[in-house]
Protein backbone atom coordinates (compact mmCIF):
# COMPACT_ATOMS: atom_id res chain seq x y z
CA UNK A 1 0.00 0.00 0.00
CA UNK A 2 1.62 3.30 -1.05
CA UNK A 3 2.46 5.74 1.76
CA UNK A 4 0.14 8.77 2.31
CA UNK A 5 0.99 12.03 0.53
CA UNK A 6 3.87 13.94 2.09
CA UNK A 7 3.64 17.53 3.31
CA UNK A 8 5.40 20.36 1.50
CA UNK A 9 8.89 21.20 2.70
CA UNK A 10 11.63 23.39 1.25
CA UNK A 11 15.26 23.51 2.31
CA UNK A 12 17.84 25.86 0.79
CA UNK A 13 21.43 24.69 1.09
CA UNK A 14 24.23 27.21 0.63
CA UNK A 15 27.51 25.56 -0.42
CA UNK A 16 26.28 22.07 0.46
CA UNK A 17 28.77 20.25 -1.72
CA UNK A 18 31.90 19.21 0.16
CA UNK A 19 33.39 18.21 -3.19
CA UNK A 20 34.02 19.88 -6.50
CA UNK A 21 34.23 17.98 -9.75
CA UNK A 22 36.47 18.68 -12.74
CA UNK A 23 36.26 17.32 -16.26
CA UNK A 24 39.81 17.44 -17.63
CA UNK A 25 41.71 16.28 -20.66
CA UNK A 26 45.45 15.70 -20.96
CA UNK A 27 47.01 16.75 -24.24
CA UNK A 28 50.46 15.83 -25.43
CA UNK A 29 52.46 17.70 -28.01
CA UNK A 30 53.38 14.43 -29.73
CA UNK A 31 51.00 11.61 -30.58
CA UNK A 32 50.97 8.09 -29.27
CA UNK A 33 51.53 8.73 -25.57
CA UNK A 34 49.35 6.52 -23.42
CA UNK A 35 48.64 6.32 -19.71
CA UNK A 36 46.48 3.86 -17.85
CA UNK A 37 44.25 4.96 -14.98
CA UNK A 38 46.86 4.33 -12.29
CA UNK A 39 49.53 6.26 -14.19
CA UNK A 40 47.08 9.11 -14.72
CA UNK A 41 46.33 9.22 -11.00
CA UNK A 42 50.04 9.15 -10.22
CA UNK A 43 50.53 12.10 -12.56
CA UNK A 44 47.97 14.11 -10.58
CA UNK A 45 49.73 13.26 -7.33
CA UNK A 46 53.10 14.32 -8.69
CA UNK A 47 51.64 17.57 -10.08
CA UNK A 48 50.35 18.38 -6.59
CA UNK A 49 53.70 17.45 -5.07
CA UNK A 50 55.65 19.64 -7.52
CA UNK A 51 53.71 22.73 -6.50
CA UNK A 52 52.65 22.09 -2.92
CA UNK A 53 55.09 19.51 -1.61
CA UNK A 54 54.31 16.39 0.39
CA UNK A 55 51.32 17.96 2.10
CA UNK A 56 49.85 18.90 -1.28
CA UNK A 57 50.49 15.42 -2.64
CA UNK A 58 48.38 14.00 0.19
CA UNK A 59 45.28 15.89 -0.99
CA UNK A 60 42.69 13.18 -1.75
CA UNK A 61 41.70 13.22 -5.40
CA UNK A 62 39.42 10.59 -6.96
CA UNK A 63 39.49 9.75 -10.64
CA UNK A 64 35.79 8.96 -11.01
CA UNK A 65 36.01 8.19 -14.72
CA UNK A 66 38.94 7.77 -17.06
CA UNK A 67 39.03 7.23 -20.79
CA UNK A 68 42.44 6.05 -21.94
CA UNK A 69 41.74 6.71 -25.60
CA UNK A 70 41.14 10.44 -25.11
CA UNK A 71 43.12 10.85 -21.86
CA UNK A 72 40.07 12.53 -20.34
CA UNK A 73 38.76 12.13 -16.84
CA UNK A 74 36.31 13.37 -14.27
CA UNK A 75 38.02 14.17 -10.98
CA UNK A 76 36.61 14.67 -7.51
CA UNK A 77 38.39 16.81 -4.93
CA UNK A 78 37.33 18.38 -1.65
CA UNK A 79 36.02 21.92 -2.23
CA UNK A 80 38.79 23.32 -0.04
CA UNK A 81 41.36 21.60 -2.27
CA UNK A 82 40.00 22.75 -5.64
CA UNK A 83 42.30 25.72 -6.07
CA UNK A 84 45.36 23.61 -5.18
CA UNK A 85 44.43 20.88 -7.63
CA UNK A 86 43.50 23.28 -10.43
CA UNK A 87 46.71 25.28 -10.06
CA UNK A 88 48.78 22.06 -10.00
CA UNK A 89 47.17 20.89 -13.23
CA UNK A 90 47.71 24.29 -14.83
CA UNK A 91 51.43 24.28 -14.08
CA UNK A 92 52.11 20.71 -15.14
CA UNK A 93 54.17 20.88 -18.30
CA UNK A 94 55.54 17.43 -18.97
CA UNK A 95 55.25 13.72 -18.29
CA UNK A 96 58.35 11.51 -18.70
CA UNK A 97 60.05 14.36 -20.55
CA UNK A 98 57.20 14.69 -23.02
CA UNK A 99 55.50 18.10 -23.23
CA UNK A 100 51.86 18.07 -22.21
CA UNK A 101 49.11 20.26 -20.79
CA UNK A 102 45.89 19.72 -18.90
CA UNK A 103 42.76 21.27 -20.38
CA UNK A 104 40.03 21.96 -17.83
CA UNK A 105 36.75 21.50 -19.68
CA UNK A 106 34.17 21.85 -16.91
CA UNK A 107 34.16 22.49 -13.18
CA UNK A 108 31.17 22.28 -10.87
CA UNK A 109 30.19 21.45 -7.31
CA UNK A 110 27.43 19.32 -8.86
CA UNK A 111 28.53 16.09 -10.53
CA UNK A 112 25.27 15.94 -12.47
CA UNK A 113 26.26 19.16 -14.24
CA UNK A 114 29.27 17.37 -15.73
CA UNK A 115 27.12 14.76 -17.44
CA UNK A 116 26.43 17.28 -20.21
CA UNK A 117 28.20 20.31 -21.68
CA UNK A 118 26.06 22.69 -23.72
CA UNK A 119 29.20 24.32 -25.13
CA UNK A 120 29.86 21.07 -26.94
CA UNK A 121 26.52 21.07 -28.77
CA UNK A 122 27.20 20.36 -32.43
CA UNK A 123 24.72 20.93 -35.17
CA UNK A 124 24.85 18.51 -38.09
Amino acid sequence: MPAPATAYERVVYKNPSEYHYMKVCLEFQEHGVGLNAAQFKQLLVSALKDLFGEVGAALPVDVLTYEEKTLSAILRVSSSGLVKLWSSLTLLGSYKNKKCAFRVIQVSPFLLALSGNSRELELN
Binding site: P4, V12, K14, K41, V83, S115, R119
Partner: protein, 331 residues
Protein backbone atom coordinates in the same frame (compact mmCIF):
# COMPACT_ATOMS: atom_id res chain seq x y z
CA UNK B 1 46.83 33.77 6.54
CA UNK B 2 44.18 35.43 4.37
CA UNK B 3 46.00 34.14 1.25
CA UNK B 4 45.83 30.63 2.64
CA UNK B 5 42.15 31.09 3.38
CA UNK B 6 41.54 32.32 -0.16
CA UNK B 7 43.21 29.19 -1.53
CA UNK B 8 40.59 27.07 0.20
CA UNK B 9 37.54 29.07 -0.97
CA UNK B 10 35.25 28.34 -3.86
CA UNK B 11 32.45 30.49 -5.33
CA UNK B 12 29.13 29.94 -3.62
CA UNK B 13 26.57 27.52 -5.00
CA UNK B 14 23.00 26.85 -3.97
CA UNK B 15 20.87 23.73 -3.92
CA UNK B 16 17.17 24.01 -3.17
CA UNK B 17 15.49 20.76 -2.13
CA UNK B 18 11.70 20.59 -1.99
CA UNK B 19 9.28 17.78 -1.33
CA UNK B 20 5.60 17.71 -2.12
CA UNK B 21 2.97 15.60 -3.86
CA UNK B 22 1.74 16.05 -7.45
CA UNK B 23 -1.86 16.01 -6.25
CA UNK B 24 -1.37 18.99 -3.88
CA UNK B 25 -3.29 22.02 -5.21
CA UNK B 26 -0.43 24.37 -4.55
CA UNK B 27 2.25 22.17 -6.06
CA UNK B 28 4.48 24.35 -8.22
CA UNK B 29 5.99 21.63 -10.35
CA UNK B 30 4.33 22.76 -13.56
CA UNK B 31 5.27 26.40 -13.07
CA UNK B 32 8.90 25.56 -12.30
CA UNK B 33 9.26 23.33 -15.36
CA UNK B 34 7.57 25.77 -17.72
CA UNK B 35 9.57 28.81 -16.59
CA UNK B 36 12.98 27.19 -17.13
CA UNK B 37 13.32 28.07 -20.79
CA UNK B 38 16.62 27.13 -22.35
CA UNK B 39 17.05 23.45 -21.70
CA UNK B 40 20.02 21.58 -23.15
CA UNK B 41 19.83 18.14 -21.65
CA UNK B 42 16.95 16.04 -20.32
CA UNK B 43 17.63 12.66 -18.73
CA UNK B 44 15.53 10.15 -16.91
CA UNK B 45 16.34 6.98 -14.99
CA UNK B 46 13.92 4.14 -14.36
CA UNK B 47 15.16 1.38 -12.02
CA UNK B 48 13.94 -2.18 -12.62
CA UNK B 49 13.15 -1.39 -16.24
CA UNK B 50 14.77 -2.86 -19.32
CA UNK B 51 12.58 -1.48 -22.09
CA UNK B 52 10.76 1.82 -22.37
CA UNK B 53 7.01 1.71 -22.90
CA UNK B 54 5.67 2.61 -26.34
CA UNK B 55 4.17 5.85 -24.99
CA UNK B 56 7.41 6.99 -23.36
CA UNK B 57 9.51 6.10 -26.35
CA UNK B 58 7.08 7.95 -28.62
CA UNK B 59 7.30 11.07 -26.46
CA UNK B 60 11.08 10.96 -26.40
CA UNK B 61 11.34 10.61 -30.17
CA UNK B 62 8.95 13.51 -30.73
CA UNK B 63 10.42 15.95 -28.23
CA UNK B 64 11.92 18.05 -31.04
CA UNK B 65 12.51 19.56 -33.48
CA UNK B 66 14.53 22.68 -32.90
CA UNK B 67 16.09 24.97 -35.48
CA UNK B 68 19.28 26.86 -36.20
CA UNK B 69 19.56 30.04 -38.24
CA UNK B 70 22.71 31.88 -39.30
CA UNK B 71 23.52 35.58 -39.24
CA UNK B 72 20.01 36.54 -38.19
CA UNK B 73 19.69 40.30 -37.68
CA UNK B 74 18.31 40.97 -34.23
CA UNK B 75 15.57 43.29 -35.53
CA UNK B 76 13.94 40.29 -37.24
CA UNK B 77 12.82 39.09 -33.79
CA UNK B 78 10.86 42.27 -33.10
CA UNK B 79 9.00 42.65 -36.39
CA UNK B 80 5.20 42.59 -36.30
CA UNK B 81 5.19 39.67 -38.69
CA UNK B 82 7.39 37.58 -36.40
CA UNK B 83 5.34 38.47 -33.34
CA UNK B 84 2.04 37.68 -35.08
CA UNK B 85 3.28 34.45 -36.64
CA UNK B 86 5.10 32.95 -33.68
CA UNK B 87 4.94 34.86 -30.42
CA UNK B 88 1.16 35.26 -30.38
CA UNK B 89 0.45 31.71 -31.56
CA UNK B 90 2.40 29.73 -29.00
CA UNK B 91 5.63 30.14 -27.11
CA UNK B 92 8.91 30.77 -28.79
CA UNK B 93 12.40 30.37 -27.30
CA UNK B 94 15.64 31.42 -28.88
CA UNK B 95 19.25 31.58 -27.77
CA UNK B 96 22.39 32.69 -29.56
CA UNK B 97 24.50 29.74 -30.62
CA UNK B 98 28.21 29.48 -29.84
CA UNK B 99 28.30 32.64 -27.75
CA UNK B 100 29.85 32.40 -24.30
CA UNK B 101 28.00 34.53 -21.80
CA UNK B 102 31.21 35.39 -19.95
CA UNK B 103 32.94 36.63 -23.13
CA UNK B 104 30.48 37.56 -25.90
CA UNK B 105 27.20 39.34 -26.49
CA UNK B 106 24.41 36.88 -25.91
CA UNK B 107 20.76 37.22 -26.83
CA UNK B 108 17.83 35.18 -25.61
CA UNK B 109 14.18 35.26 -26.49
CA UNK B 110 11.85 34.24 -23.71
CA UNK B 111 8.19 33.33 -24.07
CA UNK B 112 7.24 36.21 -21.74
CA UNK B 113 9.79 38.89 -22.57
CA UNK B 114 10.17 41.66 -20.03
CA UNK B 115 13.04 43.90 -21.20
CA UNK B 116 11.51 44.48 -24.59
CA UNK B 117 7.93 43.38 -24.37
CA UNK B 118 7.05 42.15 -27.83
CA UNK B 119 3.31 42.06 -27.04
CA UNK B 120 3.49 45.71 -26.05
CA UNK B 121 5.30 46.55 -29.30
CA UNK B 122 2.70 44.80 -31.40
CA UNK B 123 -0.15 46.67 -29.71
CA UNK B 124 1.57 50.02 -30.31
CA UNK B 125 3.45 49.58 -33.60
CA UNK B 126 3.78 53.29 -34.33
CA UNK B 127 4.77 54.35 -30.84
CA UNK B 128 8.05 56.21 -30.31
CA UNK B 129 9.31 53.31 -28.23
CA UNK B 130 8.65 50.82 -30.98
CA UNK B 131 10.30 53.02 -33.61
CA UNK B 132 13.37 53.68 -31.45
CA UNK B 133 13.90 49.98 -30.69
CA UNK B 134 13.55 49.11 -34.34
CA UNK B 135 15.97 51.88 -35.35
CA UNK B 136 18.56 50.88 -32.77
CA UNK B 137 18.57 47.26 -33.94
CA UNK B 138 18.58 48.14 -37.64
CA UNK B 139 20.61 51.30 -38.05
CA UNK B 140 22.57 52.11 -34.94
CA UNK B 141 23.89 48.64 -34.18
CA UNK B 142 22.96 46.05 -36.80
CA UNK B 143 23.70 43.03 -34.64
CA UNK B 144 23.56 39.61 -36.23
CA UNK B 145 23.84 36.28 -34.49
CA UNK B 146 23.52 32.59 -35.12
CA UNK B 147 20.49 31.43 -33.17
CA UNK B 148 18.93 28.24 -31.90
CA UNK B 149 15.14 28.45 -31.97
CA UNK B 150 12.26 26.33 -30.80
CA UNK B 151 8.55 26.98 -31.04
CA UNK B 152 5.66 25.42 -29.22
CA UNK B 153 2.58 26.22 -31.26
CA UNK B 154 -0.85 26.10 -29.72
CA UNK B 155 -2.73 26.04 -33.04
CA UNK B 156 -3.34 23.15 -35.37
CA UNK B 157 -1.26 24.43 -38.28
CA UNK B 158 2.13 23.01 -39.15
CA UNK B 159 5.27 24.79 -38.06
CA UNK B 160 6.18 27.57 -40.48
CA UNK B 161 9.65 28.25 -39.09
CA UNK B 162 11.42 26.73 -42.07
CA UNK B 163 9.69 28.93 -44.65
CA UNK B 164 9.74 32.07 -42.48
CA UNK B 165 13.53 32.04 -42.00
CA UNK B 166 14.39 30.49 -45.35
CA UNK B 167 16.80 33.30 -46.27
CA UNK B 168 18.86 32.75 -43.12
CA UNK B 169 20.07 29.19 -43.79
CA UNK B 170 17.56 27.71 -41.38
CA UNK B 171 18.04 24.04 -40.58
CA UNK B 172 15.83 21.69 -38.66
CA UNK B 173 17.44 19.45 -36.05
CA UNK B 174 16.21 16.51 -34.05
CA UNK B 175 17.48 16.27 -30.47
CA UNK B 176 20.03 13.51 -29.95
CA UNK B 177 18.66 10.58 -27.94
CA UNK B 178 20.71 7.91 -26.17
CA UNK B 179 19.11 4.94 -24.46
CA UNK B 180 21.07 2.56 -22.20
CA UNK B 181 20.27 -0.31 -19.95
CA UNK B 182 22.57 -0.59 -16.94
CA UNK B 183 22.86 -3.90 -15.11
CA UNK B 184 23.35 -4.49 -11.38
CA UNK B 185 23.00 -0.84 -10.45
CA UNK B 186 23.43 0.20 -6.81
CA UNK B 187 20.63 2.63 -5.95
CA UNK B 188 20.16 4.64 -2.75
CA UNK B 189 17.22 3.73 -0.54
CA UNK B 190 14.91 6.74 -0.15
CA UNK B 191 11.88 7.67 1.93
CA UNK B 192 9.79 10.37 0.28
CA UNK B 193 8.86 11.99 3.60
CA UNK B 194 12.51 12.29 4.68
CA UNK B 195 14.24 14.93 2.55
CA UNK B 196 17.26 14.92 4.83
CA UNK B 197 17.38 11.13 5.02
CA UNK B 198 17.31 8.97 8.09
CA UNK B 199 20.48 7.34 9.51
CA UNK B 200 20.68 3.66 8.50
CA UNK B 201 17.22 3.90 6.91
CA UNK B 202 17.25 6.29 3.97
CA UNK B 203 19.56 8.56 2.00
CA UNK B 204 19.12 12.32 1.76
CA UNK B 205 18.20 14.43 -1.25
CA UNK B 206 21.79 15.72 -1.34
CA UNK B 207 23.20 12.20 -1.51
CA UNK B 208 20.71 11.20 -4.19
CA UNK B 209 21.61 14.24 -6.31
CA UNK B 210 25.29 13.40 -6.12
CA UNK B 211 24.70 9.71 -6.89
CA UNK B 212 22.61 10.60 -9.94
CA UNK B 213 25.57 12.58 -11.27
CA UNK B 214 27.81 9.56 -10.80
CA UNK B 215 25.39 7.34 -12.71
CA UNK B 216 25.00 9.69 -15.66
CA UNK B 217 28.77 10.28 -15.79
CA UNK B 218 29.34 6.49 -15.80
CA UNK B 219 31.41 6.56 -12.64
CA UNK B 220 32.20 3.31 -10.85
CA UNK B 221 30.03 3.06 -7.72
CA UNK B 222 31.81 0.13 -6.08
CA UNK B 223 35.13 1.41 -4.85
CA UNK B 224 36.72 0.73 -1.49
CA UNK B 225 37.97 3.45 0.84
CA UNK B 226 41.57 2.37 0.29
CA UNK B 227 41.46 2.15 -3.52
CA UNK B 228 44.15 4.20 -5.26
CA UNK B 229 42.24 5.50 -8.26
CA UNK B 230 38.86 6.33 -6.74
CA UNK B 231 37.15 5.94 -3.41
CA UNK B 232 33.69 6.95 -4.63
CA UNK B 233 30.86 4.67 -3.61
CA UNK B 234 27.08 4.68 -3.59
CA UNK B 235 25.56 6.36 -0.53
CA UNK B 236 24.16 3.98 2.08
CA UNK B 237 21.75 2.41 2.61
CA UNK B 238 21.43 1.08 -0.93
CA UNK B 239 19.98 -1.81 -2.88
CA UNK B 240 21.10 -3.41 -6.12
CA UNK B 241 18.62 -3.41 -9.00
CA UNK B 242 19.02 -5.99 -11.72
CA UNK B 243 18.64 -3.45 -14.50
CA UNK B 244 17.80 0.22 -15.02
CA UNK B 245 16.87 2.23 -18.08
CA UNK B 246 18.72 5.49 -18.70
CA UNK B 247 17.66 7.93 -21.38
CA UNK B 248 19.34 11.21 -22.34
CA UNK B 249 18.08 13.80 -24.83
CA UNK B 250 20.19 16.80 -25.88
CA UNK B 251 19.36 19.83 -28.04
CA UNK B 252 17.20 22.91 -27.44
CA UNK B 253 14.26 21.36 -25.63
CA UNK B 254 11.05 23.24 -24.93
CA UNK B 255 9.76 23.40 -21.36
CA UNK B 256 6.25 22.45 -22.53
CA UNK B 257 7.60 19.19 -23.94
CA UNK B 258 9.48 18.50 -20.72
CA UNK B 259 6.27 18.94 -18.77
CA UNK B 260 4.49 16.40 -20.98
CA UNK B 261 7.37 13.99 -20.34
CA UNK B 262 7.10 14.61 -16.59
CA UNK B 263 3.37 13.84 -16.69
CA UNK B 264 3.98 10.62 -18.59
CA UNK B 265 6.63 9.57 -16.06
CA UNK B 266 4.11 10.21 -13.26
CA UNK B 267 1.80 7.77 -15.01
CA UNK B 268 4.52 5.12 -14.83
CA UNK B 269 3.17 4.17 -11.42
CA UNK B 270 -0.47 3.83 -12.57
CA UNK B 271 0.25 0.11 -12.56
CA UNK B 272 2.25 -1.55 -9.79
CA UNK B 273 5.98 -1.45 -10.47
CA UNK B 274 9.06 -2.82 -8.75
CA UNK B 275 10.78 0.56 -8.84
CA UNK B 276 10.10 2.69 -5.73
CA UNK B 277 11.03 5.89 -7.58
CA UNK B 278 12.23 7.28 -10.92
CA UNK B 279 14.13 10.47 -11.75
CA UNK B 280 13.91 13.21 -14.37
CA UNK B 281 16.77 15.72 -14.61
CA UNK B 282 17.05 18.82 -16.76
CA UNK B 283 20.14 20.91 -17.41
CA UNK B 284 20.01 24.43 -18.79
CA UNK B 285 22.29 25.95 -21.39
CA UNK B 286 25.41 27.22 -19.62
CA UNK B 287 25.28 30.40 -21.76
CA UNK B 288 21.64 31.27 -21.23
CA UNK B 289 21.32 34.75 -19.67
CA UNK B 290 18.44 33.56 -17.47
CA UNK B 291 17.78 30.56 -15.25
CA UNK B 292 14.10 30.58 -14.12
CA UNK B 293 11.83 33.29 -15.58
CA UNK B 294 13.91 36.48 -15.80
CA UNK B 295 16.35 35.55 -13.04
CA UNK B 296 19.79 36.43 -14.33
CA UNK B 297 22.14 33.53 -14.91
CA UNK B 298 25.91 33.84 -15.15
CA UNK B 299 28.94 31.72 -15.87
CA UNK B 300 31.49 31.93 -13.09
CA UNK B 301 33.27 28.59 -13.17
CA UNK B 302 30.56 26.27 -14.45
CA UNK B 303 27.46 28.03 -15.72
CA UNK B 304 25.32 25.34 -14.19
CA UNK B 305 21.59 25.65 -13.66
CA UNK B 306 19.77 22.37 -13.40
CA UNK B 307 16.89 20.65 -11.70
CA UNK B 308 15.89 17.12 -10.88
CA UNK B 309 12.63 15.42 -9.97
CA UNK B 310 12.47 12.21 -7.96
CA UNK B 311 9.01 10.76 -8.61
CA UNK B 312 7.84 8.28 -5.98
CA UNK B 313 5.29 5.54 -6.49
CA UNK B 314 2.70 7.36 -4.33
CA UNK B 315 3.00 10.58 -6.42
CA UNK B 316 5.19 12.24 -3.80
CA UNK B 317 8.09 14.04 -5.39
CA UNK B 318 11.38 15.64 -4.53
CA UNK B 319 12.62 18.57 -6.57
CA UNK B 320 16.23 19.71 -6.44
CA UNK B 321 17.23 22.97 -8.14
CA UNK B 322 20.92 23.79 -8.39
CA UNK B 323 22.66 27.01 -9.41
CA UNK B 324 26.18 28.44 -9.30
CA UNK B 325 27.77 31.64 -8.10
CA UNK B 326 26.31 34.27 -10.39
CA UNK B 327 22.67 33.18 -10.01
CA UNK B 328 19.96 34.15 -7.59
CA UNK B 329 18.29 31.51 -5.50
CA UNK B 330 15.90 29.38 -7.60
CA UNK B 331 12.24 30.30 -7.07
Amino acid sequence: MSTLRTLRETPRHLLVCEKSNFSHDKSRHRHLVETHYHNYRVSFLIPECGLLSKELKGLVMEIGPYYSVKHLPLHELITHEFINTFVKKGSCCALTYNTSIDEDNTVALLPNVVSIDLMDLSLHPDSKKSERISWSFKEKKPLKFDFLLAWHHTGAEESTMMSYFSKYQIQEHQPKVTLNTVRELQCPVLQSSELKGEPEEACSALELFDWLGAVFCNADLNNESNDFISTYCCPQPSTVVAKACLCTITGLILPEKIYVLLEQLCHYFDEPKLAPWITLSVQGFADSPVSWRENEHGFRRGGEHLYNFVIFNNQDYWLQMAVGANDNCPP
